[in-house]
């Protein structure tokens, strides 16, 4: 099997299934709750459970999306690009779900309530801005848009760094007291940004020597 077929026929479907996991879990528990309101499905505060689950999934998927380029360079595994759009679009699906639960269940779709909550509470504003930044990225994810935007596409999609950073800050701000829960995300994000500046945005001559390909990445 070539690496390309491994990536598109095995890795991508596996990634698709895994990325769908949280949604399936939430859907299954929502169904249980709908059929037995007294059940403990989704916990005492289902809306909060949905918001925490979708929010954390967004962070994980954004960080995975950012991992694709460094891995391609480091492991000379350029075919991995075939999973990046999927990861990014899943991140957008979850952020949409995250935002919609907030609009519907927290603010009853009242624009006035949403506006006043956003301007009064920095943690909401930060999350809102990160969400808005991801919208143009999802809209320009098609092949046609990639072609049409050309070089500008890459520049536009650097917004993902800012959106991910703001997403992590939003997660930290939501915490009442214990900021330690955000450390893993912040550390991974920092490491990815460093990896990116060393391996992605620099020519191969200035980067570290290329590692030999081992058994594992032959696919």
């Amino acid at each position: 099997m070539t690496r390309l077929t491994f990536t598109t026929r095995i890795l991508k479907p596996l990634g698709f299934g895994a990325a769908l996991g949280p949604l399936v879990w939430l859907g299954w528990h929502a169904w249980l709750l709908a059929h037995d309101p007294a059940s403990d499905a989704l916990g005492a505060d289902p809306v909060k459970t949905i918001q925490v689950t979708t929010g954390l999934t967004v962070l994980v998927l954004l960080l995975l999306t950012l991992t694709v380029s460094p891995i391609r360079k480091l492991l000379h595994y350029s075919e991995l690009i075939r999973v990046r759009r999927m990861l990014g679009l899943f991140a957008f699906c979850y952020v949409l779900l995250h935002a919609v639960t907030y609009f519907v269940f927290d603010q009853s779709l009242d624009p006035g309530l949403i506006w006043s909550d956003t301007v009064k509470h920095p943690r909401i504003a930060v999350g809102f801005i990160a969400f808005l930044m991801l919208i143009p990225l999802a809209l320009t994810s098609t092949d046609a848009m990639v072609r049409r935007l050309g070089k500008r596409w890459g520049r536009l999609h650097r917004l993902i760094y800012l959106a991910t950073g703001l997403g992590i800050i939003h997660y930290l701000m939501v915490q009442k007291l214990d900021l330690r829960v955000g450390i893993p995300y912040a550390v991974v994000f920092g490491a990815l940004m460093v990896a990116r500046s060393r391996f992605v945005y620099q020519g191969p001559s200035r980067g570290p020597p290329s590692p030999q390909r081992g058994e594992g990445d032959r696919g």
């Binding site: 007294a38 505060d45 006043s116 509470h121 943690r123 009442k176 007291l177 214990d178």
Partner: protein
């Protein structure tokens, strides 16, 4: 010589929980038949129920005892239910000190003998913008305060939670300065509503809810209700309550439920009643304004949040 023995029979044995819940449903359904009752009669029934609004449905036992903020056992909502088994609520002593005529180390039973436990259904509003409706069992705080006889110099009352990292493993982390301290102005403590709670749903208070003795002040945010109380101190100065010490711009001393004063993190205008999906408007003083607003006449409640 024991002054008082805990009753051999629990109230849950006298009235089955289901029956007593249905009693509420019966009264509630009476109240729901609004056309047949005048507003005054509805209010009378609401008073009988111990709530201001007959539409308030009791939050199920599983949620009341499974969704708790009790950082002494961890910061997740299900941590207290999972880890509070290490707490030993008996034997239990409560130290009474400060500006009081009868300072002493009281056995818990001696404290409980000072009054009669009664059932009160109160709305419970957390500063995190969720709420419950809980049938507490407890002794009105003012009954016990009167028996302890504060001196004329006493202006405040301070409640201290147990500090014991062995029984309360969450105290090994320094996320809050332990022990947890809360307080009230003495006239607030002498109001008929605050309850020193020993039980819920007619059963002894589970550890995760603050056994064996906790404070409930229904018109204030939940964090004002100190749990597993080991010390009651009467003071001349305003006590330094833990959350106010930890984050003075977010948590005040008064912490009266107030939809008009936002927390920097959470809007307080609305709340989610656990078990419901949409938020509902939050009432001033958590709906107990008629009874307690008089305590704060002339006070700037935005400055004294």
């Amino acid at each position: 010589m024991p002054i008082h023995r805990s009753p051999d029979i629990r109230s849950a044995d006298i009235t089955d929980e289901r029956l007593y819940v249905s009693r509420r449903e019966f009264l509630g359904s009476l109240a729901g038949a609004g056309v047949l009752l005048s507003a005054g009669e509805r209010r009378a029934i609401a008073r009988m129920l111990g709530t201001a609004d007959p539409a308030d449905k009791l939050t199920p036992w599983e949620v009341v005892t499974g969704y708790n903020n009790f950082y002494e056992f961890g910061t997740a909502k299900d941590d207290p239910a999972a880890y509070a088994a290490t707490l030993r609520p008996r034997p239990w002593k409560v130290r009474v000190e400060g500006e009081v005529a009868r300072p002493a180390d009281y056995d818990l039973d001696a404290i409980l003998a000072m009054g009669t436990a009664e059932e009160r259904v109160y709305r419970h509003r957390c500063v995190e913008a969720w709420s419950m409706v809980v049938p507490w069992l407890g002794i009105p705080l003012r009954t016990i305060v009167s028996r302890l006889e504060p001196t004329s110099r006493a202006k405040y009352i301070e409640f201290t939670t147990l500090r014991d990292p062995v029984q309360m493993p969450g105290q090994k982390s320094g996320i809050l300065p332990w022990p947890y301290v809360e307080g009230l102005r003495l006239d607030e403590a002498m109001h008929p509503l605050p309850l020193l709670v020993t039980g819920v749903y007619g059963k002894p208070l589970p550890n995760q809810n603050g056994a064996p003795l906790r404070l409930v002040v229904p018109w204030k945010y939940g964090f004002k209700g100190g749990k597993s109380i080991v010390k009651i101190r009467f003071t001349t100065r305003q006590p330094a309550n833990t959350w106010n010490v930890a984050a003075p711009d977010e948590y005040g001393f008064y912490a009266n439920v107030n939809p008009a004063v936002d927390h920097p993190r959470w809007s307080q205008a609305r709340e989610r009643r656990l078990g419901e999906f949409y938020k509902r408007p939050t009432l001033p003083f958590n709906g107990y304004g008629e009874q307690v607003a008089g305590l704060y006449v002339g006070m700037d409640l935005k400055a004294n949040f």
